[in-house]
Assembly symmetry: none
Homo-oligomer: 145 residues x 4
């Protein structure tokens, strides 16, 4: 289990937010979790809805829970909604099965953590997360359709 | 209620893990519950995702909750997702309705406990659980499609 | 309800962390909540324990829940632990009744949010929160013994 | 964050159980968590009470949550019961503040996980955990009175 530093997490966060501003996205919440599922860095832009942080958190925490980017969980949810609902329950409720929960891997493929973003379309959320991860020198693993 | 000894649970566990290694399965979590639903033995291989133990546990606990292997709960979930979601709720959240939660029965059919396995395909998970139960001299009851 | 901007929250956060580094505090978690109790900004330094973010969050959320800095809740807990335990329950669990949860007020006294910090002694945690709030031009309300 | 292998966790587990048998302890539950708080290995001896695993788990999970052996949390609980109750709540409920939750550290002091044991006196529980950790070549950090 490798470490994600606060400095790297803040680079991911600020780059992701820059990406959102350049794309004129809606108000966004961004959260970066380490490999333990602990919050490492987070920010919510002005104007986000009441539970936007929790949605972003659930994308990242769900990705870590099952070890796959939330796009893959999204696919599974469309096929077997009951399975994803059950895992959500046993994982403590924090699992939001739509794109935008992206695993952070190092050059060797080791899991460092996950980024969760919510606010705009799921595709835009995911792209912002991946941009942030790349800026920190890591590999984004968003899952697959 | 019949007893499942720790020695028997450990035989189930080690045989199931051997089955997974021979089949080159992904990193697995295995949990053996006694008839009360208490954890008797558990192991998570290196590289499992954050909540893999909870998923394995939910397969076994769900099987005990309804008295049927989780393959039968899987069938019910496809027919009546709302029923399975409701049972998950009243059972305390630990019910994962896919194959891989296998009841342990003795020669007379008495219920001794359940094995839950997660990590590879649900079919592979279930086969590993059944192999472990057989090695301990008991009968595996995985449920039916 | 007055607004706390992300820019202000980030000033609070970075100043609080600078305060901790200058004081050679242990690894810290810092969270800034807006007046609704939503996460606005957060950071956890390298080496924090598994639930340090949740402790910091609970200090800030508790302060907002009862409308007083967590030092006042600490006093109440020493007098009437059952009351604080009950509020913790109805508030959703996130109420940690020790100093370090500090309300953010503007010049007119309006409530903008709260800062929660955990990692070192409660007094040091609180001082870091107050330093951050002052740097953003607001008034820190830590509660009273 | 360093890795705790399944092989090392099983050495800790079997040595701790041997220690309990040699001391003629009551029926014991033992759980080994990795640094993420995920179950790595567990066993419950024959005759354990219904929630003995959960007690053992709560000792280990509490130790990881606050980053100190549960003997230190025990001391804090005697001084400020309301604080420990609150952290228990925000940590998801899994925090049992008595000796027997022992952190696992490597030679460099890095945190690898925690062992939780319950069944006999707290002092005996703790000694069994420490014996297991030493047998795996690691350093036991049980906390202090």
């Amino acid at each position: 289990m490798s470490d994600l530093s606060l400095a790297a997490a803040q680079t991911i966060l600020s780059t992701a937010l820059d990406h959102c501003r350049k794309g004129n996205f809606k108000p966004m919440a961004v959260v970066v979790l380490d490999a333990r599922g602990a919050v490492k860095a987070a920010a919510a832009e002005d104007g986000t809805s009441l539970k936007r942080f929790e949605v972003a958190h659930g994308k990242a925490f769900g990705a870590l829970s099952l070890g796959m980017g939330s796009r893959s969980i999204f696919k599974r949810a469309k096929e077997q909604a009951f399975f994803v609902a059950a895992v959500s329950h046993v994982a403590g409720g924090a699992l939001v099965p739509v794109p935008g929960g992206v695993l952070i891997r190092d050059a060797g493929g080791a899991l460092l953590g996950a980024v969760g973003i919510s606010g705009d379309t799921s595709d835009n959320d995911e792209a912002a997360a991946s941009a942030g991860i790349a800026a920190a020198g890591f590999t984004a693993d968003p899952g697959a359709d």
